[in-house]
Symmetry: C2
Subunit: 363 residues, 2 copies
């Protein structure tokens, strides 16, 4: 029996146990080098292999085209909210943002420091319970790029597929909470970035994939660490990168590959989400605020009939070994995050608990 419990936290999230076991060993001594992974020079042979393999498997998983650069950055998606416009929004230009929640709003706020932002769609009116339909999106005449947030952890909504930007306009995406949870066609994107701590690894490292023609759009008088061209030119090794995070990301990529790749991952994620949503839809007491076509397969947000019952549910669940079910402080209610590494068994156990709780509840 494992001494580990089911962690439904929204991030940093659960990691595959096989990855943790490998990391335990390599912390002490990786690849028989006599030196632990955190202690290796980022310019030595051992780490060279680590970062090269991480990039290669990352590329293989999504079939990333050759004209795209894979970067490992720092500062989280929150720093990307600023870096993207610093690099890609020219002076006097306009960028279009599709606003689907708090994270999109934060991205907008940073972009406004560098140029004009046009909100091509916003879900604010519907309390972010739905993803805009194509007809709801009104692009500006000539945007420098279109930015969207593929999955919204706080409201439990997710784009089924990418929005279609005007022809020739680069599509930018914050995919922090659903990257590599399903197959993805990177050729539709100009830039995609994701903090690792939900589907890819520990916090402190960002995966960014950028189309190479965009790299040189940045002004050259930006701080060197805030230009994509620096990371491109130095293959993410301009300065000491977060070596442990890159190492862990590499292990997670291999775990995805070895468990069937992105298509198999998507199947498992769809099945896990269906189990949960079905149980909630069939319940007498629980509701899902997100609209049917917009429901997230990563963060299942749900409510009870009142705060008293919600708190009781969370407390009881915690006692049973289900951790991290409290909804985001700005949304309330419950949230079960079921990222790639959440095993089906965890979801099944939670579903059984939900049904049991629902049945016992009077009314």
């Amino acid at each position: 029996m494992s001494d580990r419990i089911f962690n439904f936290g929204a991030g940093p999230g659960v990691l595959p146990e096989s990855v943790l076991k490998e990391a335990q060993r390599d912390l002490w001594n990786i690849a028989g080098s006599g030196i632990g992974i955190c202690e290796h020079s980022h310019r030595g042979k051992v780490f060279d292999k680590v970062i090269n393999e991480a990039e290669q498997v990352c590329r293989d998983l999504a079939g990333i085209p050759g004209n795209y650069k894979v970067l490992f950055l720092q500062g989280g998606a929150s720093l990307q909210f600023a870096m993207a416009p610093m690099n890609l929004l020219p002076k006097g230009g306009t960028a279009d943002y599709l606003v689907t929640g708090v994270w999109s709003e934060k991205a907008v706020k940073e972009a406004k420091l560098f140029g004009t932002v046009h909100e091509a769609a916003t879900g604010k009116g519907s309390k972010f319970t739905r993803i805009p339909a194509a007809a709801d999106i009104k692009y500006s005449p000539s945007p420098a790029y279109v930015h969207f947030t593929s999955n919204n952890t706080i409201y439990g909504t997710q784009w089924r597929s990418e929005p279609a930007p005007p022809s020739g306009v680069p599509l930018l995406c914050d995919a922090s909470s659903d990257i590599y949870s399903r197959p993805i066609d990177l050729s539709k994107y100009g830039l995609i970035y994701a903090g690792a701590q939900k589907n890819l690894g520990p916090s402190g490292v960002v995966l960014a994939v950028i189309r190479d023609d965009l790299v040189e759009r940045a002004p050259k008088d930006l701080p060197v660490m805030l230009q994509y061209r620096t990371a491109v030119a130095e293959r993410s090794l301009y300065n000491t990168p977060p070596t442990f995070g890159i190492y862990m990301m590499g292990l997670v990529f291999k775990w995805i590959r070895d468990t069937g790749g992105l298509a198999a991952m998507a199947e498992r994620n769809e099945a896990k989400a269906k189990l949960l949503y079905d149980a909630l839809d069939e319940s007498k007491h629980f509701t899902v605020p997100a609209e049917a076509g917009s429901r997230s397969l990563m963060n299942v947000c749900f409510r009870g009939p009142g705060e008293e019952m919600e708190n009781r549910f969370i407390a009881e669940a915690t006692k049973r070994g289900f951790e991290g079910l409290k909804g985001h402080r700005s949304a309330g209610g419950m949230r079960a995050s079921i990222y790639n590494a959440m095993p089906r068994a965890g979801v099944e156990a939670l579903v059984a608990f939900i049904r049991e709780f629902d049945k016992k509840e009077p009314r």
Copy 2:
């Protein structure tokens, strides 16, 4: 017998073995929570204790005054090279830099993007083999701050004590490679920052300590992630921080405390460095380019009579289990980095090898 070897790499550097063992356990399940350290929410109770303890022990070790904020940041010292002037160099202002090597030069380059830089002293003329004396330093009339690099990994030089800035002018310091290697009086500093990967932990996290009156000097239209005030206001939790790095730093702080604190650390470091420098000074074949009063206690840089012999020395050392002795590519020669976590036994073994090699060498 351990399967680990002696790692003299300049960074990421060796970590204490007791810290690695604790991290191995906690990667799987920390504090009996059933969840590994990398998988805990940065807003949950377990991580709250981790970051609070890290900060508290950090404060206790150096007796950090109450009007200083302790921050855990991302992006390495390289991002601080830009953040410091972005926040502390007002438009039209001048900042004074003491240039003692490549890292200082990089800091200058970033600062020039935001204002005027006055090089109050530079060791360029002497190939960075010495730290400027007080008489060599010519400050500008009214600098916004004075910046220096306390230890220079590439040239093996180190300030014995802080430069004295003009009265009332804040002193800024990149202490990446010698922080907490000796007692430090933080009240002399306005801002000190250090990438963790030499003396404090794994790469990917920066320790910054800032005097609180400086925090509000920053313009408010900077990206939110690039303002010190954000990290101050949110106690380094504005977005998901590098949780594993902060955790590891906390363990290293406790290890320093439990092995006697900074004064004991300094004694051990001085003794280790003396062993090495004595062996080199007494040798027939090796020389130390750094001037006597400027020698680093962290990075012992030395040369042989020619590249052929140097390469032979490094190759032979590697075979014997001494890793990371090759000097920086821009300086050549050899470099033994003997940070806090390098045990005296490692230095003794290297000294024995140096003496043996020196004796066998013909001439």
